[in-house]
């Protein structure tokens, strides 16, 4: 006999005046290779078709399905029930605006971030369609991709002590984004330019070093190293400009 799993799920529809935030329980029999993707879709199709949650690729690639699973932010699609106890509590990610039930608005949060850190290559060169591409060492390309792998699921921000207290904190995902452009030789911004963006409490100096970001990152991004690297780099930039004055 398979396990009977009890799911305690946060429910609230802000668009329905009669709805109030509460927890609701659903029971399902466990099946082989069951993931939270299968669980939530079965609950919607068999028990409550109004249940809101976000999935997209369901393969751990797109970052849609971040939620708090038994107290820990993670991707629901690749969370297997066999790794969980009989009772499972699902909550929406904190920090982000709630859309309803388990669905939150990560899109607006990240879109604002792109503008803040200007997450694009800054170059004075124009593209020449007739020219061969500029050369780059493969090891450099791999180093950039290593930092470009972030899927913006929001788990690191949801798990971050500073982000919970400071709404303007860029979070590990935001600071890592700066690191990605900082090492890219195509971006002509100087360390001084990057200091303007993250050399403050909204950026690298807001980090308290709790490092839950690294613990919960579903893509195993090297966030601890990145935060350390940028903290040193920005500290040195601050000192240099101090002595220049």
């Amino acid at each position: 006999m398979a396990r009977l799993l009890k799911f305690n799920i946060f429910r609230y529809n802000p668009q329905d005046p009669e709805s109030t935030p509460h927890m609701e329980s659903f029971v399902l029999e466990e099946t082989d290779s069951m993931t939270l993707f299968i669980v939530l879709n079965r609950i919607r199709e068999e028990q409550d078709p109004s249940l809101q949650f976000d999935f997209c690729c369901r393969a751990g690639i797109c970052g849609s399905c971040g939620m708090v699973i038994n107290g820990r932010p993670g991707l629901a699609c690749h969370t297997k029930t066999k790794d969980l106890p009989d009772e499972i509590t699902l909550l929406p990610l904190p920090v982000y605006q709630l859309v309803g039930d388990l669905s939150v608005d990560t899109g607006s949060w990240f879109r604002e971030l792109y503008d803040t850190v200007e997450s694009w290559i800054h170059t004075s060169k124009a593209f020449d369609p007739t020219a061969q591409e500029e050369r780059m060492e493969d090891s450099m390309a791999e180093a950039i991709y290593e930092l470009d792998r972030c899927i913006e699921c929001g788990c690191c921000v949801a798990a971050c002590g500073t982000a919970r207290m400071r709404p303007d904190f860029l979070g590990a995902a935001g600071i890592n984004k700066v690191g990605r452009f900082l090492i890219d030789p195509r971006d002509e911004r100087t360390e001084r330019d990057y200091f303007e963006i993250i050399g403050n409490d909204m950026g690298i100096f807001g980090c308290m070093g709790l490092l839950a970001c690294e613990d919960v990152c579903p893509k195993h991004m090297p966030l601890q190293n990145q935060l350390g690297f940028l903290r040193r780099k920005m500290g040195i930039t601050a000192l240099k400009s101090f002595f220049k004055k």
Binding site: S50, H78, V99, W120, Q132, A141, D148
Partner: protein, 614 residues
């Protein structure tokens, strides 16, 4: 009612849509992309392997050029593509790869010196030239004469989408995410924009635009098992077919990818085989070299998927609780390669299957993957039937893929076509004057409001939307799969007609307030069943086998009668069947129909007389 005006409205914010929006924005026009999800979660992000472009930088790509790429594409399409379009694509692809490099894509680069590679499980030597150090590198993919697929590890789609979305942010292209277009505003001649439902509040909004672009990707979710994301549900196509005047092209051309994992149907990239992975059967023996001595595991996807299914039918599949499957073996590629160039594959296998591909075999079988068909456009991306309406990317039938697309050609198509069509949109806007008629807009809004009210109040009935959807998916899986027959397709069409009647009686169980997911599903179910009917009726009519469309009762490719593209219309909303028309597959032949060099089949030549067929 909130009404938003923009020069260009792009429905969909994946690679094709955003790339087109960039062209419009760079020409000085305002552009808004609507998206079901934050743009970077679009399904483009899940494409792993890479983009085909004839760079010719790596040793195994030496001598490559757009002509060779073009020829591979035409053969891959089984001569079903528009050759002028395939030519435009192949010519432009290398420039687009360089453009992406300029914008920030960290392409894999050539490392000079001696190295080794695997093919068919055997090790070979190669040497990269010093003079090509640091140029864009390529890997091998199926159905190609050269190594031509540009890549970023196995996260190419992710990396390119993030780069393109960054450019959009820089240029001020707006993305309205969590917004779903539910109908086009048009007067039967001109498209004026769309009515959309906000997926944050459930409210309706009107978007008015001089040019509207459907770039919503594929529609794999009308099948029960697919590698496609859950958002690839045909929502954009439905708005087009509901106009009654815009046809869908080649809906019966559906690609099954050889390596969907079992269970869960998640894709592992063709790069696995491109990098030297092999397919094994129940006895852990290779079999593709027997069926395809030349191309082996790297024949085109339609051919490999067909032989795999054939091999399983011969009793050589591996039994599992999820049905028979075969094995993909990449163990010999080694840990460094698997955790580096195939990192996403490694993560998918470990986290979804509990399989370590460095030491274990990966269970795979052919799985629904790609829609060659879609909104039919001309070579400029203009949709047939309505002025001011465009379509680009997988959503469209532009048509460079014909009846089978090559791996790496669709991800490349998104940006190459996005660039080409985007330029044409900008040209269209230069001279465009559009008069918006408020009664047309008001009538469309009213119609949508009533439609929503009717499903909420169960006016037409209380059919359960999820059950109707399952009936549609099962009918297609049974009748319109890799191998097709007259009997199977007739049964499929009959079931779908019954399903259509049920779809028209769907009513909600829940209250429909706010961002109600049951309402979202209910609003598109009738359109989805109509698409399923276009697909199955098109397949039933096409009495030949071409590319991915395999009729067991008509095994020959028939160039005499079927060198054509199917155009499927849904002329009146209340019709029970689509109306089919046909046009020539291509106006211009650079390469006359011939043998593909793999997937050998009988060919009825164009100049065969009808009576000689016997």
């Amino acid at each position: 009612m909130q009404t938003i005006y923009t020069d260009v409205l792009v429905v969909g914010a994946g690679l094709a849509g955003e790339r087109a929006a960039i062209e419009a924005a760079e020409a000085g026009f305002s552009a808004i992309c609507l998206s079901l999800v934050p743009s970077r979660r679009s399904h483009s992000s899940a494409a792993m392997g890479g983009m085909q472009a004839a760079m010719g930088n790596c040793a195994k790509g030496e001598g490559d050029c757009p002509d060779v790429h073009f020829a591979d594409t035409v053969k891959g399409s089984d001569w079903g593509c528009d050759q002028e379009v395939a030519r435009m694509f192949a010519d432009r692809a290398p420039i687009e790869m360089r453009q992406l490099a300029y914008w920030g894509v960290p392409w894999g680069r050539v490392v000079p010196g001696k190295g080794t590679y695997y093919k068919g499980g055997k090790l070979y030597d190669k040497e990269e030239k010093e003079e090509n150090r640091g140029l864009i590198n390529s890997r091998d993919f199926g159905g190609t004469a050269k190594w031509r697929t540009c890549y970023v590890s196995d996260g190419t789609g992710h990396s390119v989408l993030y780069t393109i979305d960054n450019v959009c942010a820089k240029l001020g292209v707006e993305v309205h995410d969590k917004t779903e277009s539910i109908s086009l505003i048009h007067d039967g001649v001109t498209c004026f924009g769309a009515v959309a439902r906000c997926l944050r509040t459930g409210e309706l909004r009107v978007y008015l635009a001089k040019a509207t672009v459907i770039a919503t990707g594929g529609f794999g979710r009308i099948y029960p098992g697919t590698t496609n994301a859950v958002i690839c549900d045909g929502g954009g196509h439905i708005t087009a077919l509901n106009t009654g005047v815009v046809p869908m092209g080649n809906m019966e051309a559906v690609q099954f990818h050889p390596t969907g994992i079992v269970p869960t149907e998640i894709l592992v990239t063709e790069g696995c085989r491109g990098d030297g992975g092999t397919l094994l059967d129940v006895n852990e023996e290779r079999f593709m070299h027997v069926y395809e001595p030349e191309k082996q595991e790297l024949a085109s996807r339609d051919v490999v998927a067909r032989w795999m299914t054939h091999h399983i039918r011969q009793g050589k599949g591996v039994k599992s609780p999820y049905g028979d499957h075969l094995w993909l073996d990449i163990r010999h590629l080694g840990e460094k390669h698997i955790t580096g160039k195939l990192r996403e594959v490694y993560e998918i296998c470990t986290s979804f299957l509990g399989v370590d591909p460095i030491h274990q075999l990966i269970p795979v079988r052919p799985t629904h993957h790609y829609s060659m068909g879609g909104v039919r456009t001309n070579k400029d991306g203009k949709a047939y039937g309505l002025s001011g309406l465009f379509s680009v990317g997988e959503a469209s039938c532009w048509d460079m893929h014909g009846f089978n697309r090559l791996g790496g050609n669709s991800l490349a198509e998104t940006v190459v076509a996005g660039g080409i069509v985007g330029k044409k949109i900008a040209e269209f806007l230069q001279g465009a004057e559009v008069t918006f008629n408020s009664s047309v807009i008001d009538a469309e809004v009213k119609k949508q409001q009533e439609r929503i009210q009717n499903v909420i109040s169960c006016k037409a009935g209380t059919e359960n939307v999820f059950k109707v959807r399952t009936a549609m998916q099962d009918a297609l899986f049974k009748g319109a799969n890799i191998f097709r027959t007259k009997e199977g397709l007739e049964e499929c069409v009959a079931t779908l007609q019954d399903t259509l009647a049920r779809a028209r009686k769907v009513g909600l169980k829940s209250n429909g307030k706010g961002v109600n997911p049951e309402l979202s599903a209910a609003l598109k179910i009738e359109g989805q069943v109509k698409m399923a009917l276009m697909l199955s009726v098109g397949a039933l009519n096409r009495t030949e086998s071409r590319g991915s469309h395999n009729r067991e009762d008509y095994p020959a490719r028939n160039d005499r009668d079927w060198l054509t593209r199917t155009l499927a219309y849904w002329k009146n909303e209340n019709d029970d069947m689509p109306t089919l028309a046909y046009e020539a597959a291509t106006e211009i032949f650079h390469i006359p129909p011939g043998d593909r060099g793999y997937g050998k089949s009988e060919i009825i030549k164009a100049d065969t007389k009808a009576e000689e067929k016997g």
